[in-house]
Subunit: 294 residues, 2 copies
C-alpha cells in the first residue's frame, strides 16, 4: 500500500529502509498524510463491513476507539479547488485528512482498501444547496464520474481519550448522537464557498474543562482544542436543548458547555453557498479510517 | 483589513469585541490564516518598497527578522487544484501560508496591501517545465489573468531565532544565499504534480543540533524541524560544495549538516511535472510578509 509503513517490514533502521518501505517519503516528511504505523486491530475493517452490508446505519461515536473518524464531502471537479482552499483557510473546522484522486472513492492516504460509496453508515445528498436525500446507505449510483472526495477529521476521534481520563462523554453514555449547532461565527470565504461555523457541544464538569482543552489540543486533525467554552449565546445558540443536528444531551448542574469546531461546517457551507451537487456523510455517521491517532 | 486584529482597537475583552474587530472568525479559529497581531514595525513595508523600486534584488536571508518569509508560486487556474492538493500532501516542504483569490496579486491573509508582481527581489519564469527567464525584478506584464498565487513558508523565517540562541547561521555570516539541494526523496504525487524534495543545509556544531531541532520545530509554517541530520549521501547529495541552488557555505570541523525541507521543492516539481506556465520567486529571494512569527 502506497504511503504506509508496514509493520511486517520489521524495524526501520535507516533512511534507505524507510524509503524502501514507503515507496515515497510522505510518512517521513508529513505526519498528516498517513497512518503512523500499521496495526493488527481489524475492528475498523469489520466496522466498515457492517456499514457496507447496511447492518450499521447509525452514528459512529464510541466505535473503533483509536482510529481517526472522518467527515465526507464529495463535490464535482469544478468546485474542488474552491472547497480545498476553503478547508485550507478554515482548518480548525475542516481539517483535511485525505483527498482522493479525481473520480476515485478509495482514500489511499488513510486506508488500505475501502469504498467511500458504501463504507459509511449513512449519507446525505445536496442539490443546489438543498438537502434532497438523507440517510442513504449506498451512494454508488449517485457518485459523479468527476467526483472529488474530501475526508475531514471528526472530534469523535478523541472521545475515548476523554473517557480514559475519566471525563464523561455524555452522548456516548446516553447512546445518542452528539449535539451540533450552527453558530454566528463566519468562516473565511474561498471562491463560492461561504457560511458559518458549526460546533459540537460536550457538557464538562468545571474541574475537567482544562483537561478537555489539554487533551483535545493534541488532535489537530480532529479539530484540536475547543473554540469556545461557556455561554452558548455568544455563539448565537439560543437553546442548547434544540441542536441543529444530532440529539440533545443533558447539561447537569456544575457542568460547562464545551464547544469544538465540527466538520458539519462543510454541510452548512454547501447549503449557504448553493453548491450544485454534493454527497456527504449524515452528521454523526462518520467514515472510520485506518489511521491510528495515538 | 479583513482578518487582522488591529492593535488600535485596544484590548480584546470578549468574543463580541473579537468578532467586531475581525470581521470574520479566522484569527479566532485558525492560527495559520493571519498575523497574530498588528505591529508598528514597518521594516517589512519599507523592505517591500526597496524590492518594488528594484533597489534590493538579492536574497532575503537576515532581512526583517520576526516576519514570515514566503516562497511564491503562480500557476494558471487549470493547475491550481492539483498544486493545492500537492502542497496539502507535502506540507513539510510546501507549507501553505496564503492563497490569493483567482487573478489577485494581493495576499490579504498576510499583508495589508502588497503587490506580488513587484514586491519580491527577483522572479523566475517557467514554461513547459523549463526555466525560461531568471532574476526578473517585475512580472506585471507576465502575470496570467487567471493566475492563482500561492505563498509557502520559508526557513529564513527562523534564522534570527537561531542567531538569538547563539547558533551561527553561516549563510548570513558569510553574506551568502543558503545552500539548496535536490534530494532523492520523492514527494507524494497529486494529479500532474510530482518530483523530489529540495532541502536547505545549515552547518551546525554538534552541541547545537538538538537546539536547532527544538527551536525550528516551533515554526511549522517555515518547514518546522529538520528532515535529516548528518550524511548527505543518504539524501543523494554527492557534494555539499555544489548546491543546486544558492551559494556553497563552509562546513567546519565538528559541524554537522542539518537539512530542512525547502519551498524550492515547488520549483523542482514544476520542472519535473512539465507544468505549462509558472512564475516563482528566485530561490532565496523571498516575499517578506506582515505575519509576525514570534
Amino acid at each position: 500500500m502506497e504511503g504506509f509503513i508496514s509493520g511486517n517490514d520489521g524495524g526501520i533502521k535507516g533512511l534507505k529502509d524507510l524509503k524502501a518501505s514507503l515507496g515515497d517519503v510522505d510518512n517521513y516528511l508529513n505526519h498528516n498524510d498517513a497512518p503512523s504505523s500499521s496495526n493488527d486491530d481489524d475492528s475498523k475493517i469489520s466496522f466498515r463491513s457492517l456499514c457496507r452490508s447496511t447492518t450499521h446505519t447509525g452514528p459512529t461515536n464510541g466505535k473503533c476507539p483509536g482510529f481517526l473518524q472522518c467527515n465526507l464531502v464529495v463535490l464535482r471537479k469544478e468546485d474542488a479547488f474552491d472547497f480545498l482552499l476553503f478547508c485550507q483557510r478554515n482548518s480548525k473546522a475542516c481539517p483535511i485528512v485525505d483527498v482522493c484522486e479525481n473520480g476515485s472513492f478509495n482514500p489511499t492516504g488513510v486506508t488500505k482498501s475501502s469504498d467511500l460509496r458504501t463504507d459509511l453508515p449513512a449519507y446525505n445528498v445536496y442539490s443546489n444547496g438543498k438537502l434532497v436525500q438523507g440517510n442513504l446507505s449506498d451512494v454508488r449510483s449517485l457518485w459523479p464520474s468527476d467526483g472529488v472526495a474530501f475526508l475531514l477529521g471528526c472530534s469523535f476521534t478523541f472521545d475515548h481519550v476523554l473517557i480514559a481520563n475519566r471525563i464523561s462523554a455524555r452522548h456516548i453514555e446516553m447512546k445518542r448522537n452528539v449535539s451540533m449547532y450552527k453558530t454566528n461565527l463566519k468562516c473565511r470565504e474561498a471562491g463560492r464557498f461561504k457560511g458559518n461555523v458549526v460546533v459540537t457541544m460536550r457538557p464538562v464538569k468545571g474541574g475537567d474543562v482544562a483537561k478537555v482543552v489539554t487533551l483535545s489540543c493534541k488532535y489537530p486533525e480532529a479539530h484540536g482544542a475547543p473554540i469556545h467554552i461557556g455561554s452558548p449565546s455568544d455563539l448565537g445558540i439560543a437553546d442548547l436543548s434544540k441542536p441543529d443536528w444530532g440529539d440533545p444531551v443533558e447539561v447537569r448542574e456544575g457542568e460547562v458547555p464545551v464547544f469544538h469546531a465540527c466538520g458539519v461546517t462543510s454541510q452548512e457551507v454547501i447549503m449557504s453557498s448553493g453548491v450544485s451537487f454534493a454527497i456527504t456523510h449524515s452528521p454523526g455517521c462518520m467514515f472510520v479510517s485506518d489511521k491510528i491517532i495515538d
